[in-house]
Amino acid sequence: MNPVKRLFDSQRHRFSKGGRFEAFYVLFENLESVFFAPATVTSAGPHVRDNLDVKRFMFLVIVALLPHYAFGMFNVGYQSHLASGLPLDFWPMIGVGLQAVVPMVVVTYAVGYFWEALFATVRKHEISEGLFVTCALFPLTLPPTQPLWQVALGISFGVVIGKEIFGGTGRNFLNPALTGRAFLYFAYPAQTSGDAVWTLLASGRTAPVDAFTGATPLAIARATESGSIVQAWADAGYGLTQLFFGLYPDAIGASCTVLCIVGALFLITVGVADFRIICGDLLGFLATAALLNWLASPVGSPYLGLNPFYHLLVGGAAFGIAYMTTDPVSAPAMAGARWVYGFMIGMLTVLIRVFNPAFPEGIGIVILFMNCFAPLLDEIQLRARLRKRIPNVR
């Protein structure tokens, strides 16, 4: 017999009715179901059921996110060594990345799990695996310099306010990871915005070496008053390759466009992400940016004239499109509404980037904003659809 199975069987009596830890039976059951699928059989309806469950569904998202963690640890170390003037050796850079990222992930999961477990125990429902996706997404959107207590506070806000008070995964209307991220942005702007927060400096250093700008591509784009933004990026060392692979100071692991493309294709292939949302996003981004291009020459602002495809390469656009907008719970349910939802996200993100001086990046806020409109979009399409049905009421 499997030793893990033996352990669960030997401890079961302590958590069963009358046992010492009876109150924590939900937790015990949940932990067991992580290792061994329960023996529950069908009692009603069709006798057989699909092998897919929410655990598998969410697990696939985490699989798609793992490369981002690998990349994130590398990039945090790489940017840190660049900024600190240290030699660019692979393993020391990974070491810096591990040191920065692992504590954030541990804190996120520990605090997130605590809240979910608390609500599950009190409400006597099972722990939903959506939490693990939230906790996997959240650190990837943070700057590597975020203090751990703020990480704990952010995930608490995201899980409790973004999800639990509405009834947990499936009943939330906001994306919990983004809710937590937005909370940190507004509550602690000093630690979540500006040029300095995106790069971890080696201990003992207070400022980066002179050659290192530290500014994110989006900050550079906003600051460029005349000339070409692409040229300004190139001057800062961000060529097309750097932008495509995400090798610039940014949130941990969210900047790598190529991994986002791979992840999005993976999630569409396994049927977890809806291609409609992603295509809507892309259309919204490209169409709006192209429209601004058309306005650019009379106005003369470089940001208006930025090639639409560059909008997708910089900042959190690709990450948000691949993993945040495709969250099925906070997106609309209907197919047509999903196209509109995606398009609006793309459009509003570009507009905020170009016209709003307060936010260098808008996609996180825009997704939360559109989350609020998802039920309305659904309702509009639902009414149109139900009108077309031939009534069957007697």
Partner: protein
């Protein structure tokens, strides 16, 4: 009209690709010693017993009828002594068991010849079918309860096959009975006032349709393409067409035989299949035969569930139970009440069947899978994966309809097409949150039905 209509293709729906498909060979089972009329798995029927324990009955004697609808009669599939009247919780009648005599007596009913059919009135014909105890075989959309003889349907369908695994193939049960079915079709036309539409899925259509006078509609696509409710949903053009009748091919043969021979028909061709079935094939047995007559000695080792009437739409039945009037399939499934392997949910899953593409199995097109009765996951809230919408054959949005029902919004759930639901069970089958969508929709339909009648 014949051959003029192109096949109707259902692109939604889903095929289980269940292993244990019955062979097309037909084997005669030895005659059972008991048969029964089953009431426990009948829907919409409140049985009122007409016999007592120990009574002598003949083939065709009245055993019980519906309290509210006297035309819904259930007659004895055998002649002998009532040896048991089994009841379930709250004294609900489960079945009336008959110990068969060596020489069974038959109740004699009036006979109808082909020529009589030209002159006989509709009312008289209805009387004969009701009196012969076979009226419950004719069912009515949208609720699939027994047809109301006082109404005229907008259409009448005769589905010859059923894609819910595994049901008898039309070429097996129809062999040599084509003329009888033609007779049944003429009876049905008189009853309904409409020429019946015979439906058959293309893969089962081979060798059929050469009979003149059958208005055959070929169907293609996934389960439940065979379902008359699906066909009606896809062909209706106005709300007054919602009210249609249907009777399955083998059932229509029974009605025809009753009228032709003047005796209550007792033969039934049923399939035994499924992953836990040995010798999966077609069997000729008695109406109301014990399930053990079929399954005993033909089920695999281990805990096995008996699904009477199909995997997706059938009901679980104990081995001691009997075939009910409408059931023509017995599927044996592994119970699957064992916990899964260590971290099994992280594996690629080449052998884990799924509607989604989340397992490697989804990319292996030709395989058959031994589905079991495990639920394969814990109950969660709906995550709007939309699989139920993608699979629903009648374009309901099951997850939204389900939410409307739970919120008590009866009107809204009806506007969603609750009554178009064909109860195929696919939404419950594929739900990753393991929500009992079918059960919720079905109960809502039953509540509405109770209010209507």
């Amino acid at each position: 009209m014949e051959g003029a209509i192109s096949p109707l293709h259902l692109s939604k729906g889903y095929d289980l690709r269940l292993s244990g498909k019955p062979l097309p060979e037909l084997e005669d089972l030895p005659p059972p010693r008991h048969v029964a009329a089953v009431a426990g798995r009948l829907r919409f029927v409140k049985p009122r017993l007409a016999v007592n324990f120990g009574d002598r009955v003949q083939v065709g004697s009245l055993l019980f009828s519906d309290k509210n609808r006297p035309e819904v009669q259930f007659r004895s599939p055998g002649g002998g002594v009532v040896s048991a009247v089994n009841a379930g919780p709250r004294r609900r009648l489960l079945e009336v068991v008959i110990a068969l005599d060596a020489a069974e007596g038959h109740e004699e009913f009036p006979r109808i010849t082909d020529d009589d059919l030209e002159s006989i009135g509709r009312e008289r014909l209805i009387e004969l079918v009701i009196g012969g105890g076979l009226w419950p075989l004719i069912r009515e959309l949208p609720f699939r309860d027994t047809a109301r003889p006082e109404t005229r349907p907008s259409a009448v369908f005769v589905p010859l096959d059923n894609l819910d695994p595994f049901h008898p193939l039309p070429r097996v049960y129809l062999e040599g009975h084509e003329r009888l079915l033609s007779f049944g079709m003429r009876v049905l036309e008189r009853l309904a006032g409409k020429p019946p539409v015979v439906t058959v899925c293309r893969e089962h259509a081979e060798g059929l349709g050469k009979q003149t006078g059958w208005n055959i509609r070929e169907l293609t696509g996934h389960y439940p393409a065979h379902d008359p409710g699906v066909l009606l949903y896809r062909t209706k053009t106005a709300a007054d067409q919602n009210h249609a009748w249907f009777i399955e091919g083998q059932d229509l043969l029974m009605v025809a035989e009753l009228l032709k021979s003047g005796r209550f028909p007792t033969d039934r061709i049923v399939t035994l299949g499924g992953p836990a079935a040995l010798q999966a094939r077609h069997y000729r047995t008695r109406l109301g035969a014990p399930l053990s007559a079929l399954a005993h000695g033909r089920r695999a080792a281990g805990e096995v569930r008996l699904a009477a009437g199909g995997v997706l739409t059938g009901s679980p039945a104990p081995m001691e139970s009997y075939l009910s009037l409408l059931e023509k399939a017995l599927v044996l499934l592994p119970e699957g009440n064992v916990s899964g392997g260590f971290l099994a949910w992280t594996l690629p899953g080449a052998r884990s069947p799924s509607y989604s593409r989340a397992f490697l199995s989804s990319f292996r097109r030709a395989r058959e899978f031994p589905w079991d009765c495990n639920r394969h996951g814990g109950r969660r809230a709906c995550i709007q994966c939309n699989f139920c919408t993608q699979v629903c054959p009648v374009d309901i949005l099951p997850q939204l309809t389900y939410k409307a029902i739970l919120a008590g919004e009866v009107e809204e759930s009806l506007a969603h097409g609750l009554l178009d639901c064909v109860e195929c069970g696919l939404c419950s089958l594929i739900c990753p949150s393991k929500i009992e969508l079918l059960q919720t929709l079905r109960e809502a339909r039953e509540r509405f039905h109770a209010e209507m009648s």
